[in-house]
């Protein structure tokens, strides 16, 4: 049968950011996919040469807008390790609160985009309407909707008052109520099931061998979540990773959807246990040595490698983002599916290309 090479992207209605896939197809079936990157590469890691280790917090936040706070936390954790800084407990709890708020808004954003990907416009609008409450919380508590800039090396720069935490809990209840109302639609509706069940299957073995991370890994049956290592204040909070076993687009959707409930619960726990005290410590010294830190982003495991040389500038900063890790698994999901399902499968890994290329 004759094969055709079809370009998917870099500009495509379902792609918020540019990635190019060369799809080798036989009639309507995908036989092979080859990725092509480089449309939004910014060389952010190299900025350590001209930005000092404190300024780099702002750079790292801009690796990805959607999970900016989590990038900043990971960067700060690595730098704090090099400086042997002990971050105040309250700061760690505040970091958890803002990180989980980021997870909720990221998953709601994705659920909306995913619904939009298969033409379910009203569902898209419902998810994004709920997401606005989280954006309001972030704007009110941190002064900005997306890149909230609350993290500094040594702690956080903003605190939460008792009134603010009370209001966050009220807003979270509304968010959770709204999400529950959409549960039967996103998980049981005929169109959603038809477009996602049995599509883009990644087996448990493939997920492990190809280095999948985050909901892509957990949707294939692996109970692995970096938050289980207990960084910041996660060690004091109770949670179970959300796991599904079918490895298809539906499983990945279900994982993200259920993770919203987990994130709401974690915020509630963190607020309930929020200790009194300082929110930052004074930074002394210059980063020296090596550190390797990782956190769980909404899209999965994110690692930072720091190398300090005793000056204000790091000698090397390496960032490996979750979408970078999820591209090889994506290449395994595509062969065998029809061309019409390609956008759904690509979206199912929640691709963030500006993250990937940095």
């Amino acid at each position: 049968m004759a094969r055709t090479v079809l370009p998917f992207g870099p500009q495509h209605p379902v792609l918020p950011e540019p990635i190019h896939l060369k799809l080798v197809i036989e009639e309507e079936k995908v036989v092979e996919a080859i990725p092509n990157l480089g449309y939004v590469h910014r060389g952010l890691e190299k900025l350590v040469d001209i930005r000092d280790f404190n300024q780099m917090v702002n750079i790292c936040e801009r690796v990805c807008g959607i999970c900016s706070c989590i990038h900043a936390v990971n960067y700060c954790m690595g730098t704090e390790q090099l400086l042997s800084l002990e971050v105040p407990t309250r700061a760690n709890y505040l970091r958890v609160i803002w990180m989980e708020l980021h997870r909720i808004h990221s998953h709601l954003l994705w659920l909306g985009l995913f619904a939009d990907g298969f033409g379910f416009e009203s569902l898209f609008m419902q998810f994004w309407r709920i997401r606005e409450k989280i954006m309001d919380v972030m704007e009110s508590t941190a002064g900005n909707r997306v890149v909230i800039s609350v993290n500094i090396v040594g702690g956080v720069r903003r605190d939460l008052s008792a009134e603010q935490t009370k209001w966050i809990l009220e807003e979270l209840d509304k968010v959770e109520k709204g999400v529950r109302q959409l549960e039967s639609t996103i998980l049981n509706e005929y169109t959603v099931c038809k477009r996602t069940k049995g599509i883009g299957v990644l087996t448990k073995e493939q997920a492990h061998q190809l280095g999948a991370v985050g909901p892509t890994l957990r949707g294939s049956g692996w109970a692995q979540d970096v938050r289980m290592t207990g960084y910041t204040a996660y060690g004091d909070l109770d949670f179970e990773p959300v796991v599904e076993h079918d490895g298809d687009c539906y499983s990945r959707t279900k994982v993200r959807f259920r993770e919203i409930y987990v994130a709401c619960d974690l915020v509630r726990q963190a607020i309930a246990k929020l200790p009194a005290g300082e929110i930052a410590v004074k930074v002394k010294g210059k980063p020296d040595g090596e550190a390797w830190t990782r956190v769980e982003q909404p899209r999965g495991e994110l690692y930072y490698y720091h190398k300090g040389n005793g000056t204000n500038h790091l000698a090397r900063l390496r960032i490996r983002t979750p979408t970078f890790a999820n591209i090889p698994p994506l290449l395994a999901m595509l062969p065998g599916i029809t061309l019409a399902d390609v956008p759904i499968v690509v979206l199912s890994i929640d691709p963030c290309i500006s993250c990937t290329e940095r």
Binding site: I34, P35, L37, G38, H41, G43, E45, K46, H208, Q209, L210, G211, Q224, V226, M228, T229, G289, E290, A291, W292, R294, E301, Y303, Y305, K307, A315, R316, R318, R320, F324, A325, I327, P328, E357
Partner: protein, 128 residues
């Protein structure tokens, strides 16, 4: 020096990576670091099993060919291509070799993260 780190050489890199693959470790990623004072690169391989991390450290002279691990862990191909692109590390036999054009345009012959340009220069000379 990172915790749980082991040094490897060009000779035992692939056997050590294969051993970890056989033991069920997940390759988390690769990191390249330029060692300006030694005219060499550190290539770090990060592995994980049950949330326990271990690292392999390969220190190689800048011109030395480094065998690709993408034949063992397919996912290594993207990281190896990225490092080849940005640092000019001379990875050999990557399953899909983008020829230093993963992020860069083909006409770019410098390695933006490091002043070393062995791979790209030699590729250009080969074309000529």
């Amino acid at each position: 020096m990172l915790p749980n780190e082991q040094a490897v050489t060009l000779e035992n890199l692939l056997p050590e990576v294969q051993k970890r693959f056989d033991e069920g470790l997940r390759l988390v990623g690769l990191t390249a670091v330029e060692l300006t004072d030694q005219n060499a690169f550190d290539v770090l391989y990060h592995f994980d099993k049950d949330l326990n991390v271990q690292h392999l450290r390969l220190t190689v002279p800048k011109e030395a060919p480094v065998p690709s691990t993408s034949g063992i862990y397919f996912l290594a191909l993207l990281a190896e291509n990225e490092i080849k692109d940005q640092f000019g590390v001379n990875f050999q036999n990557i399953l899909i070799d983008f020829g230093c054009a993963l992020y860069m345009e083909p006409e770019v012959v410098t390695s933006p993260f490091c002043k070393f340009t062995y791979v790209k220069k030699s590729a250009k000379e080969g074309e000529e």
